[in-house]
Amino acid sequence: MVGILIVAHSEQLASGVKELAAQATHSQVPIVAVGGAIDGSLGISAEAIRDGLRRVASNDGVLVLVDLTSAALSVEAVLEDEPAMRVVISNAPLVEGAYFAAVEASVGATLEETAAAALRARDLIKVHPEHRLHTR
């Protein structure tokens, strides 16, 4: 099964996104959350990313979801030393992307299908037009 790595600048943010995606899939998908700098402050740790990738990696590949651009850059840097890993870094929004990706992975989707599902989350309209009327 495709694994999912959540990379965020905050440990709490990464863990919360993992919690949501895991609950939607009854914890059937391997998900690892990585967040914050080594000293616990906000930031990104290359070491933690490397460790997270190794924990979630399998032959089916890993989809990485990030909160902000620098997280993606850090993952790219780590991957330069891990040429054998099948990894896709997603441009999807973190929360919706993780939810969509986890559900797709849980039904046995490939890495490519899981990555496509995460990107579809960009089209999600969360506020229904009939709800918006209430703000008038």
Partner: protein, 91 residues
């Protein structure tokens, strides 16, 4: 073609985990499955996908039309209607 109207009884409606559970169940069948929220006038019949399910705006008390067409259409509609009832009980 097989169809059934089901009332959403889950307190949160068809969102988050219930929507994921519903979508995952549809993937067990080969029939073409569509869904429509009968309780929203603007709602149209849509193929089942996670995105479409989340955008149905199906809240508690809403009625949704589940329609399946294909070799296992009867099993699909029966299983999906049962799942919606079961999800409500689990909460």
């Amino acid at each position: 073609m097989e169809e059934r109207v089901v009332r959403i009884r889950h307190p949160f409606g068809l969102h988050a985990r219930p929507a994921a559970d519903f979508y995952r169940k549809t993937r067990e069948f080969r029939s073409r499955i569509t869904i429509r929220n009968m309780s929203r006038r603007s709602s149209v019949e849509l193929p089942v996908s996670l995105l479409n399910l989340l955008q149905l705006g199906a809240a508690q008390g809403h009625e949704v039309l589940i329609r399946a067409e294909g070799e296992d259409e009867r099993e699909a509609v029966t299983a999906l209607a049962a799942l919606l009832d079961q999800l409500a009980i689990e909460e």
